[in-house]
Symmetry: C2
Subunit: 236 residues, 2 copies
Amino acid sequence: MLSRAKPNNTDKPKNEYHIHISNPKHMNLIESLNWRYATKAMTGELVPQPKIDLIMNATLLCPTSSGLQPFEVILISNKEMKEKILPIAHNQPVTVQSSHLMVFAAWDSYTTERINHHFTYLNQQRAMPDSTTDDFRNTTIALFAKQTKEQHFAHAAKQAYIGLGFALIAAALEKVDSTPMEGFDPEKLDNLLELNKKGLKSTCILALGYRDTAKDWLVKLKKIREPMSEFVTILS
Amino acid sequence: MLSRAKPNNTDKPKNEYHIHISNPKHMNLIESLNWRYATKAMTGELVPQPKIDLIMNATLLCPTSSGLQPFEVILISNKEMKEKILPIAHNQPVTVQSSHLMVFAAWDSYTTERINHHFTYLNQQRAMPDSTTDDFRNTTIALFAKQTKEQHFAHAAKQAYIGLGFALIAAALEKVDSTPMEGFDPEKLDNLLELNKKGLKSTCILALGYRDTAKDWLVKLKKIREPMSEFVTILS
């Protein structure tokens, strides 16, 4: 039988779940994740290009379902464009106070053309015959052919959120502040960025920049997570 | 007018997008992300508990929409349970060769009760009156009240994928191999884990363990990502 032991009693806070740091460099990860928060006011200071490059590279390296990479990033530092996005993003100040906005834009559908493009590129890069992946390719095409466009986009959007997770951590490790935002009108943003021409739809925005500690009400508040015992169920 | 400069010509591979590492510790992130891959064969070796703890802590620290944390993790090291999951996960070998399986299970719906529970807990933890967040709480309840249960789950599942991204990076930094899996029958897994009793539905599985280099066909193949120039569009 299973033991359904939980790491803690449910009334204990998460930080009583014992953290044994096995390697000093990893404290850096947890420290960085505790340091980060959804920044509500930014200074406008530019994030240096090397840090932006690193965040983009980390995001590109995120895994996606069948390796299809069904999302792109629109990286916006243009002031006019950020001002146009401001009302679309319900006037959230970081829209214009940020250094850069990353718009995560997912495929509106998994077309046979897109799937073929991926597998052909994959085989080219590996210097293998294009037929190498035929079984996998055909299974993938058949799988998506059974689904609606809505299902395609919902699936692609989830992959974009893995990328969002990668960008969030890369930024935190670089001590770059970030604000993930779903509070915007996606249709208006799609129109502004002409995403429909590329078969893309916006899923979320990540603002990158530096916290304005004096003006940010959230930076003063304790970061809260539910207790680990409510988050994780252990079947050991 | 916008300049729509791209970081590279489209025919250049991603690794020609210049990476300027501003701090030596950060090479570690990109190196770790290049080291990781969707492991297809694992040795069965156990991942030490401190590493598991760190991965769980990183996952718990992922941000979610309005801070609601609408997903949980079922952490499975039990051998019998992994054997039961094997056929549900289309007999993918890492299901049983892994050390642990993380099942990411998202809320099936955003109920008023769940939203209230979150805000009450938040205010308790911050020692603030429960009414402090009433505006935000009521807006959140009203927002989800307009949506279907399907929309709720689709939204919660995306948040779970941010957590998946966090777990993937934490594992890679710990030199723990991992395999994200969507190839399973979610209804059967939900039944096996009795997730419906908790108002949860499975979204993805992350297998954690150690690569079996001799038996893994994928470890020998070059990791491929699309060119950075196709991934990122720069509006500067």
